[in-house]
C-alpha cells in the first residue's frame, strides 16, 4: 500500500527548486510511471511528493542545425515519439519510444523522470548515450551539464544529489555519415528489455570508422558502454566479421545479472547477438546517410 504523504505542487521551476531544497524526505513525481510502482511495493515511502507535472517551462522540444536537439525534462515520451523534427533527425529515438511500455505510460511518463530513475533496463539511456547526449540538472544553487555517459552511477543512482532536478537533455546535431540503432530483447512487445543494445557508427569520408559507441541495456548496474568492443572497431574498415567479433567482446565485457527471466549466460549470448546486429544496422545507415 502507498504510504500517506504531503503533496507539493509548484507552479514554476523556481518554486519547484525552492520547495525541493526545503524538504528533505521528498521525492519528485512527474507522472509516477516508475515511482508509483516502487511506492506501492513499499520500497520507497517519502514524506513529501513534489509534483512538477505542471512546470511547463521544462516541457519543450527544440532543434537547431548547429546546436542539435534540446528536450525539456518534463517532455513526455509520447511527445518525443510524435515529434516530426525528431523523426527526421533522430529516427532511432522515435523507434525506441514506440516500444517503450504502453501508450498510456508514454502519455504520462517523461524523459527526465525516466533518466532520473536510472533503471539500467530503461530504454532512453542507452540510445541517448549512443547519440552522445548530455544532461543538465540543477538545484536552487545552480546547474550542471554532464555527458549522459557519466550521469549514471549505480543501480537507480545518478550524479544528482538531494535537491537536484533533471532540467534538459541535449543531443548534438548528427554528423554526416552517422547511424544509430537500438533493439531490446523481451518476451512481450514493449515490455522492459531482458537486455538491450544501442550502437552508433560515424564514418570518415574514406568509409573507415571515425567513431563508434556501443551501449548495453540491463547488462550491468548502469547503461553500459563496452569500450573494448568499441576500440576494436575505431579507425577500421567495418565488415560483418568485425561486427561479430565486437559482439563476442561485448558479451564478455558486459556484466548482466541473472533473474527468473534469463540466466547470465543467455543474457551475455543475446547481448553479443544484439551488439553485432545493431552495429551492422548503424553502419548501413551511416553508409547511406547524406
Amino acid at each position: 500500500m502507498i504510504n500517506d504523504f504531503h503533496y507539493l505542487k509548484p507552479a514554476s521551476l523556481k518554486e519547484a527548486l525552492a520547495m525541493y531544497a526545503e524538504h528533505d524526505d521528498c521525492k519528485v513525481i512527474c507522472g509516477g510511471q516508475s515511482l508509483l510502482i516502487v511506492m506501492r511495493q513499499g520500497m520507497v515511502a517519502p514524506e513529501y511528493l513534489l509534483d512538477i507535472k505542471h512546470v511547463k517551462e521544462l516541457s519543450y522540444i527544440k532543434f537547431d542545425e548547429k546546436d542539435g536537439l534540446r528536450i525539456g525534462a518534463t517532455t513526455t515520451h509520447r511527445e518525443i515519439e510524435k515529434s516530426d523534427i525528431i523523426a527526421k533527425k533522430y529516427p532511432v529515438l522515435v523507434a525506441m519510444e514506440e516500444k517503450l511500455a504502453s501508450i498510456q505510460t508514454r502519455n504520462w511518463g517523461t524523459i527526465g523522470g525516466n533518466l532520473a530513475h536510472a533503471d539500467p533496463a530503461g530504454d532512453p539511456g542507452p540510445v541517448l548515450i549512443a547519440l552522445n547526449a548530455e544532461i543538465k540538472f540543477g538545484n536552487s544553487g545552480g546547474e550542471k551539464l554532464v555527458p549522459l555517459d557519466e550521469f549514471f552511477v549505480d543501480y537507480f543512482e545518478t550524479q544528482m544529489e538531494q535537491g537536484d532536478l533533471v532540467l534538459e537533455v541535449h543531443v548534438p546535431a548528427p554528423e554526416p555519415k552517422f547511424g544509430c540503432a537500438y533493439q531490446k530483447f523481451n518476451l512481450l512487445d514493449s515490455d522492459m528489455g531482458i537486455v538491450a543494445a544501442a550502437a552508433s557508427v560515424t564514418l570518415n569520408a574514406d568509409g573507415t570508422c571515425k567513431d563508434v559507441r556501443i551501449v548495453l541495456g540491463n547488462a550491468g548496474p548502469i547503461p553500459l558502454r563496452v569500450t573494448k568492443a568499441e576500440d576494436l572497431l575505431k579507425g577500421k574498415k567495418l565488415d560483418d566479421a568485425l561486427f561479430a567479433e565486437a559482439g563476442t567482446i561485448a558479451s564478455e565485457e558486459c556484466m548482466p545479472v541473472a533473474d527468473i527471466h534469463a540466466s547470465e549466460e543467455h543474457r551475455r549470448h543475446v547481448l553479443g547477438v544484439l551488439t553485432k546486429r545493431m552495429l551492422k544496422k548503424a553502419f548501413e545507415q551511416a553508409q547511406t546517410a547524406a
Binding site: 500500500m1 512481450l188 527471466h261 534469463a262
Partner: protein, 788 residues
Amino acid sequence: MNNNDLKYVGKPVPRKDGPLKATGGAQYTVDISLPGMLVGKVLRSPYPHARILNIDTSQAKKLPGVKAVVTSADSLKVKHGFIDTPRYPADQYPIAVDMVRHAGEEIAGVAAIDEDTANEALSLIHVEYERLPAVFDPEEAMKLDAPEIHPNHPKVSDPYKNIGGKIETAFGDIEKAFTGSYLIREDKFYCQIRTHGYMEPQATVASWDHSSKLNVWTSSMGVFLKRARLARTLGLPFGSVRILKTYVGGAFGGKIDLYGHEYIASLLSMKCRLPVKIVYTREEVFKAARHGQPLIVEIKTGVKRDGTILGQQIRTINDSGAYRGSGVVAIFLAWGFAMAPYRIPSMQYEGYSVYTNNLVRAPQRGHGAPKMRFAAESQFDVIAEELGMDPIDFRLKNARNPGDMLPNGDSVKNFGLKECIAKVAEKTDFKAKYEAALKERHSGSTIKRGIGIGTTAYFSGSLVYPNSSTVIVRFNDDASVSVMTGALDIGQGCETVISQIVAEELGVPLNEIHVHAADTETTPVDIGSWISGLTYVTGNAAKKAASHAMKKLLNVAAQELGSEVQELIALDKTIFVGHSPDRKISYGQAIAASIAKNKGDCIIGEGHFRTMKDEVSPPSLSTAKGRWTENYSNYAQVAEVEVDTETGMVRILKATTAHDCGFPVNPVLVEGQIDGQVSMGQGHILSEELRVEDGCVINPSFLEYKMPCALDMVETDYIDVITETYDKEHHYNTKEVGEGYVSGTVASVANAIYNAIGIRVKKTPVHPQDIIDALEKHEHGGKGDLTR
C-alpha cells in the same frame, strides 16, 4: 426455416453490455458500497505445511476500529470441495482448522473500519506454527518416503503416497494393438502452471441483513453454485443466502467453486452485522488464489505402416496442490480430450491426481485439453515424420467421421473435424509451406520459418451441479420483454446471445429485450458460465420460454382476429392474418386483450432445458464410464512461426482457425472467443509461467508474470465450418467455442517450431534460452529435444 431467414440469431450484433462497460457504468463487486460497510482482510499462512498450535486474536480484537475477527473457532468446520461425491468427499475447510497445507491458506479474517486498521489488525494476530516437511513436485510426492499431506485415497492401492484421486479406463486390446504396430512411439510432455489472468481480482461483499438473510455480491462464474457452497458451509438454508449479480471482469475458470474469502466475508458480516467487503490485491491473487493445472503426460502410440492408429496408452500425473480442488476432474477430462477427436481402436488410460504443498488448482479454460492435445498432436507429428507422411494426411486418415460413437456412448454427431483440417490446410497453403520450411532448415539464414497444426474436440455442456437452466420470458404492457435468467455474463456475452434468441422467437427488437440476470432470489436456476454449455443449455431454455410466451400471444391474437393460429404472421410487433393483412393486432393490444379476457394472464413464458435428458448422473470420475455431452465441437488450427536461431526468440506470425461450433449464434462473439484463446495459447507456449519456490509464488505481479497484451496479439484468421442449423420448431445444437482453441495454439506452435528448426518441444513454456540450448545440443549430435 433456413438460417438465412433469421433476423437476430446468426448475426454479428454488438454486445448489450459494451457501452456500459466502455463508459464505466458497469458495477463490479469492488464498486458495491453499502452503509456502514467494513473492509475485510484475510490472514494467510506463510508456510506451505504446518500444524497450527495456537491462534491469539486478543490484541487484534482490542484495536480500535476492528469490528470482528474470525478463525475456524467461529466456523461450523464443514468441509467443501469442487468435487463432493461419495468417492471424492469434500476435503477442504474454508478457513484452516489446525493445519495448513499450502502457503496462502486462510487462517483468520478481520473486519475493520478501513484498510489500514484491517492490515494492522492482521499483524496483531499471533499464530504459533509447528512447521512440517513439505513436498512440491508431484512425482516426488508420490514416493513412499514423501511427507504425507493427506492419506491416500482409500480405493487406490498403488504403492504411492499422496494420491488424491485416480482414474483408470480402457477399451479395445492394447497389447494386441502394440504387437501389431509397425511403429510405436513413447514420449513424455510437461506443462507449467499458468494463472488465469482475469483483470478483475477476486472480490466479495457480504451483508447479513436485519431479516437474517445473507446477501452476497461476488465475482464468480455462476451464482447458484456459490449459493449452494456458502449455505452448506455456513449451515444456512438455501433460501437464507442470496447471491446477487455484479459485472465480472473475467474468470477463465478461476472463479468457480467456493473461495475462502467469500466464506470469511460472510462469517465476518454475520458476526458484526455490518456489510464486509474483501478485495484481493493482485499479489494476493498470484500468491493465494487458485491457478491452472500442470499436467505431466506420458503417451505411447502404435500405428500401422499406412499411418492408421492402432492403440494408445496414456498416463497423466496432475499436481493437484494441497486439496483435491478440480485435480481429479482434470485427469478425467484429459482422457476425454485424448479419445474424442481421433479414432483410436484400443486405449488404456490412467491418471493420477497427486497432493502437494502447492496452491489448490482450479479449472482453467480448456481444463486439461491444452496439455493433452499438446502431447498428442506433437507425437502425431513425430510419428508422421517417421512414416514419411505429412501432418495433414496423418490427421485426415485418423480423424473421426460424423456419427462415430465414442467408447463412453456419446456420438460425435455432425462432426466437422476432417472438413476443418482440410480447409485450414488449404487456406494456409500448409503442405507447400511445410515442405519449404524443411528445405530452408539447412540454408544459411538465421531466421527460420515453420508451420504447424493442432486440433481438438471439446464437450458442450455436461451434467454438473446445477445441471440445468430455466428461463422466464415476460411481456410487459408496452410489449417490451423482460427475460429472467440465472445466467451470469462473465464477459463472454451470454446476455447478448440470450437476447438474440428471445428477439428471434418473439420478433421484438433487441433493444426492447431487457435481461434480468444472475440473482438466486429472483431468477430461476442456471447451469452457469462454465463447462461450455451456456449457449446450448440456457439458450435452448430461453428459446422454449420465448416460444411459450409467443404461443400464448398468438392464441390471443387468433381469438381477437377470429382466425386460426396457423394463419397468423408476426412481424415488427404486429400480428397479421396471412391471407388478409389488413386484419391485424399489435402486440400491445394482444397483451391488453389477454389481461382483459383471459383471467388477467399477462403472458409469461417458461422454458427449461437440460443436456443429456436421459442421463441420470454425470460420468464416473474413477472409470470414465458414462456419457459426457451431446455435442462435440472441433477445430483445426494452423500456426505460422518465425524462430530467431541466434537469440532463440519465437514469434507467432499468424494463427488460422477452422472451427465447427455448430453454428455461430453471434459470429463476432465467436471470433472474439477465438482471438482470446489464441492469445492465451500464445502465453502458454511462449511466455507465461507461475514461478514457485518452496510453495511460494516468486513472480506475483504482471511485471514479472509475462502475459501477452493487446500489442502482442498475433494476426488471426477464421474459417467457419457450419454443421448445425437453427430451426424455430425444435431445439438447436450449438457447440463449445469458449475454451477448446487454447490447445490448438499450443500444439500448432510447438509443431511449427519443429518444422522451422527440427527441435521437438516437450515442455511449455518455450523460452528463448531453451531454443538456444536445444540447438546447441542438436549441433553436437544430441537429440535436441526441448524438455525439462
